[in-house]
Symmetry: none
Subunit: 347 residues, 4 copies
C-alpha cells in the first residue's frame, strides 16, 4: 500500500529540554507488535509510519514478552533504514512480566536495569537505543541506584537519553535531586497516559516540573484505547482489539465494558461528536489534535493494526489549527475535567 | 484555672529527621490569638498549654494581621518562660493578607522572606524563632531563591529549622534538589491539613518523601475546624466560631454549611459516634488520637478558645492505646477514604 | 537426590539499602567448594540449593586457592542456569593466600583489585559478578584508592555492587566519606561473622551504620563452624571437617579444641539444647533461625558438604516464628552476651 | 605561692592536624572548678598553671551546673590575662544535667548547640572559645545537623575549632563524611579517657582515624581519677575527692571502691611502684609521662585542687625521656592490656 496523496506534512518537536527531535506522532509497540497482529502486518504499519515521516518507534521489554522488540529489530533490517534516521526506545521494569522468575528480573535495581537493557538490545539486534525508560517507579530500589544505573547505560553507549513512565511528579523531582547532586544526567522525558479523558497528571501534577526540569512528554493512549474514536459507542465491534483478542490483559479490559466509568466516558464521546462534525474531522482526529495542541507533548504514541490507521493519524497535524480558543473552551465544557489552575499569587 | 488532676503525661516527638523535640500536641495561633478571642483568654490558653507540657507554639505573619505574633510574644514575657524551653514558629508568605500592598509583601522572594522574618521577630519581640515555614508555595519565585533565602535566615541565627506549609510533594522534592546541589539545608517539616476526613496528602502524596527526605509533619486541623467534635451535627451552635464571628474568612466558611460535602462529612461523624462511645472517649478525643497514631505526625496543632479545650486535647495521648488495629480497621471502613497503598513489586 | 516435600518456602530480602533481592539463606564456597569436598558432591549441593530457591552463591578468590570459583562457574554451565536469576559474589584480597608472590597479589591496591577481579571472572567464566567484596580491610592502601578501584570495577560492568568483609565500623564510614566526597558508589554490604556466640560487631559496632549508610549484612558462620549444631559436644566426630581434613587452616582449628573458649562455647550449646527441644527443632535450626530474626541480616551464608544439609538449613525459615520475644529473652539469658544498648538520651 | 624553681619547661604540641598549639599538660574544670574546691583555691590553681606555661583551660557547660565556666571567666579577668595567649574550651551536650527541662536542653540538636554555646559564652563572659566540643554523641540527632550547627558556631566567630568527646570511631568518621560532602569543617580533636588502665579507644579504636582525619587528642583522666597515683592503695584517704565530697557523682564512685575491677587496678598500681622507684619518679609522674609518650596526645588534661598538684604534674615532661623502649616494654608486661596491633598484611 502506498502513501495516500495529500497527507499533512509531519511535524517534529524537541524532546523536552534536549536537542533530540521526535515526530509529533509516533508508533508504539504495545499489544500490536509481536502480539495479536501478524508480523507482516506489523512490518506494513511500520513502513507506513516511516514513509510519512514518523521517526520515533516506541517499545518495551515487557511488550508481548519481548516479541515486540524482536519484530521492531527485524523491520529496521528488512527495510534497510539508516540507524541515525530513527529514534528507537525501549523500557525496563517488567522483565518477568510473562512468567520468568520475578525476584531480580523486575524493577529498577542496577542488576535488572543492566541485564534488562542487554537483553533488549539483543532482541532488537541493535547496539543502542536512543531512549531508555524506567517503565514504572520501583519503590523498593533507592532512586540513587536507579539514576546511577541509567547513567551507566548511557555511559556505556547503550542509550542516549533516559526517562520515566508513569512516575509520580515528586519521584521525577527526586531523580533530578540525585542526578544534580552527583553531576549525573536526569530523566528528560516521561511517558504518561494523556487524552481528553485523562488530564490531571499532564496538566496539573507535572506542571511545576516543566519549568524546573524541562520535562518532555511522549504520551500514550491519546485515544484512550480507542474509546475516543467513538467506535465503542455502538457496542464493541468485532474487528477491534477488545472484541477479538485472547490476550488475558485484553480480556480483563473487556470486563470494563459496561461499568459506570465506561458509560460515563461514552457519554462524553457522544457529546464530542457534534464538535467533530462541525469541524469536519473524525472523532479520532479531534482527539489526537487536541492532545497535540498541548505543547508539552513532544510526541503522541499511537498504536496501529492497519497501515490506514497510521495514515489517518496524521490528519490531526493539520486539524490542530481548527482547535481555536473558542473550540477548546467548548470542549472543556463538555469534558468537565479541566484541572483547576495552580494557585498563583500573581496573575 | 489550675491544671486538672489526672491528665495524661505529655509525649514528645522528634520533628522529622532532626534533633528537635516537639510536644505531640501543640497550640496554634490561627484565628484564636489576637483575633476574636480576647487577649486575657489567649494568655490563659497559652498558660494552660505550657502547664501541661506543650512546648511548641505555632504562629504566622498572616494570622490576624500580625496580632497573633504580638500576643504570643507578650505571653512569653508575661509568664517569664525560658526561651530554650520553647519551640516557637512563624510562617512567611501572607505578609499583606489584610490590606497591605501585595506587590512585594507576599510570597517567597528573597526580599519578602527576609523583610517578613524581620517584621515577625519584631512583633514577637524575639531574637529568633525555632521554626520558620514557607506558608504556601510561591510559583512565581524560583525554588532556588526561596531555598537560599531560608538558609540565609538560618545562617543569620534568626531561625533553627525551616519547612513548608501546604506544598505539593514534588515542590518539596524540588526544594531538596536545590538544597543538595548547593550544599544547603532542606525543609525538614511540612504543615498540612490532616484529619480523618482529609488523608490523601499525608498518607499518599507525601509517602515517598518520608524515606527520601525524612520529612516531619506538624499537622493542622486535626478536628477539621471542629466538624469532628460532632458539635455541628445538630446545626451550628451559637457559641462556636462559625456561629459568632464577623471575620470574613469565617463568614465564607458559613457558606459551606449545608453543601453536599459538609453533609457527607456530618454523616461520617454520626457513624463515628458509636465507636467513640464504645471506647468511652469523646469524638474529639477519638479524632485527635487517630491523628497521633500516625507516627509521621510530629505534632498535631490545636486551636483553643478556652483553657478547658487545651486540657481536653491531651486526653488523646492516653486514648492512642485504645485504637487497636481492629478499631482502626473499623474506622477505615466508616471513613471509606483510606488511600490505596502505593504499588510495590515486592512485599 | 530430589527435593524433599514440605520444605518451607524461600524468603527473599533486600540487600541493605539496594534494589537487589537475595535469598535469606545462601550457599558459600568457603572450605567446601573445590576443597576437601569432591566436585560431584559440590555440584549436588549447589543444585539442591538452587532447587529450593537459593539464588545467592558466595565465593572468594582466596577460597581453596581459586578452585571454589572454578567449580561454581562449572556448576552454572552444567545446570544451564540463567545468569539473571543468580546472585554471584566473589571477594578480593587474598590473591596469594596459598603460595603466590605476596608483594602485589594481596590487598586492596588498584592493581590487585583490578587484576584480582579479572582473574576471578576468568576462573568463574563469567562476564560479571553481582557482588564484589573487599575481603579484609587493607591498612596499607589509602581508602580512597580502594573506593575508586571498586567503582572502576562497577563502571566496567564487572560487578553491580561492592561491599566489605570484616571491616571495622569506622573503616566502612570512611569508605562512605570518600565515596560521598567524590560522588562515587559506597559499600552497600558487609560480610561479618554473626551467630549466637559472636554478636558484638553486628549488634553493637555496626549499629550507627545501619541508619547512616543503609548497610546490609551477608553473614557467615551462622553455626560457628558447626559448634552450634551441638555435634562437638561429645568430642570431634570423625566425619566432620575438623576431624578429617589435611587443610592447614582446619588443623589449626583443631588446636582450638579443648581450650577455655571452646569449652565455654560448648557449655552454652548444652544449655541451648532444652530450648531447641521445647520448640521441637534441631539445635542447628534454632541457631540459624535466631540469626534470621535479625532483620539487618540480608542473607545467612551456610556451607554444606551434603545436599541434605542444604535442605535442613531452610527449616530455619519457618522456625523463625517460634522465636517469640519470650523465647528470645530466654536465649539471651543463656548466651549472656547481649550487647548493652547504645546510650540514647531520648526513648 | 610562687613557682618552684627547677621545673621542666612547658612543651607545646599541635592540636592534631591544625595550626593551633596547646600545652602538653592542661588544666580541666571537671569537678574541681566551681564545685567542691573553693573559688580562691581555684584561682590559685589557675594562676599556678598559667605561670608554668599551661595555655589550655578546659571546661564544659555541664561541669558543676555551669559554675566552672563562671569561675574560669572570672579568673581570666582577675589576672588580666590576654585573650590571645589562652586556649579556652567548653563542651555542649549536658545543658540540663542538673535539673533543667531535658526536652531540648540536652544533646546536639541545632537548637541546643546554638543556645548552649550562647549560654556558655555568657557564663564565661567571653566573645568566643577556642575549642568547642560535642560532649557526647547524640544518637537522636542526625550527624549532619550537628556538623552544620558547630560550623555555624565557627562561622559566627563564637569558636575557632570543634571536636568531640567520647564519640565512637565510626561516628567521628561519619562526621567527617558529612563535613567533606558539604565542604564544611570536620572535628579536629577528640577528648577520650586515656591512661595506663584504659588504652583500647586511643591505641586501637581510633587508630585508622589518625591518618584519615588527622585527629588530635586532648585526653582526660591521665591518672584515672587518682588511682594511678597510688594514693588509694592504702584505702581512701580523707583529703581526697573520693573521701570527702557530697557530690552525688563522687558518692557513686565511692561505691566502686572495693569491687573486683577496682582491686585489679590497685594490683597493677602496686606492681608499677618498683618501676617508678627505679626511675626515681613518683607514680603520678610515671603515669603522666607514659601518657605523654603517645605522640597522638596533644594535651593531657589534669585536675588540681592545690597549686602544688599543678607544679607536680609538669615533672612528667622531663620524665618522658626516662621511658625508654625497654621500660615501656616492662610496663606493657605489667599492664597486660596492650591492644593487639591492627592486622596488617605487610609489616
Amino acid at each position: 500500500m502506498s502513501v495516500p496523496s495529500g497527507l499533512p506534512k509531519m511535524e517534529y518537536r524537541r524532546l523536552g529540554y534536549s536537542g533530540l527531535k521526535v515526530s509529533a506522532i509516533s508508533l508504539g509497540g504495545w499489544l500490536t507488535y509481536g502480539g495479536h497482529v501478524e508480523n507482516e502486518n506489523t512490518f506494513a504499519c511500520m513502513k507506513a509510519a516511516y514513509d510519512i515521516g514518523i521517526n520515533f518507534f516506541d517499545c518495551a521489554e515487557g511488550y508481548s514478552d519481548g516479541e515486540s522488540e524482536k519484530i521492531m529489530g527485524q523491520a529496521i533490517k528488512k527495510f534497510g533504514w539508516k540507524r541515525n534516521d530513527l529514534v528507537i526506545s525501549t523500557k525496563i521494569y517488567w522483565g518477568a512480566a510473562f512468567g520468568e522468575n520475578p525476584i531480580n528480573n523486575v524493577g529498577l535495581s542496577r542488576k535488572h536495569v543492566i541485564e534488562g537493557v542487554n537483553a533488549s538490545l539483543k532482541r532488537l539486534d541493535l547496539e543502542y537505543v536512543d531512549l531508555i525508560y524506567a517503565h514504572r517507579p520501583d519503590r523498593d530500589t533507592p532512586i540513587e541506584e536507579t539514576v546511577r544505573a541509567f547513567n551507566h547505560i548511557i555511559d556505556q553507549g547503550k542509550a542516549f537519553y533516559w526517562g520515566t513512565s508513569e512516575w509520580d511528579a515528586d519521584e521525577i523531582a527526586s531523580a533530578w535531586r540525585v542526578a544534580d547532586k552527583l553531576g549525573l544526567i536526569g530523566p528528560i522525558m516521561e511517558q504518561p497516559q494523556y487524552n481528553m479523558l485523562a488530564r490531571t497528571k499532564v496538566e496539573k501534577e507535572f506542571q511545576h516540573l516543566y519549568e524546573e526540569t524541562g520535562l518532555g512528554l511522549t504520551i500514550f493512549s491519546p485515544l484512550k484505547t480507542g474509546i475516543l474514536t467513538g467506535k465503542y459507542n455502538d457496542g464493541i465491534p468485532k474487528d477491534s482489539r477488545l472484541g477479538s483478542s485472547d490476550d488475558p490483559w485484553v480480556k480483563s479490559m473487556n470486563e470494563r465494558f459496561g461499568d459506570e466509568a465506561w458509560k460515563k466516558d461514552l457519554d462524553v464521546v457522544a457529546k464530542l461528536k457534534p464538535v467533530a462534525q462541525k469541524l469536519d474531522i473524525s472523532l479520532a482526529t479531534l482527539a489526537m489534535a487536541w492532545v497535540l495542541k498541548n505543547k508539552r507533548v513532544s510526541s503522541a504514541i499511537t498504536g496501529a493494526s492497519r497501515p490506514q490507521q497510521v495514515y489517518d493519524s496524521v490528519q490531526a497535524l493539520s486539524a490542530q489549527e481548527k482547535l481555536t480558543p473558542d473550540i477548546l473552551k467548548e470542549i472543556d465544557g463538555i469534558l468537565g475535567n479541566k484541572p483547576a489552575a495552580m494557585t498563583r499569587r500573581f496573575n
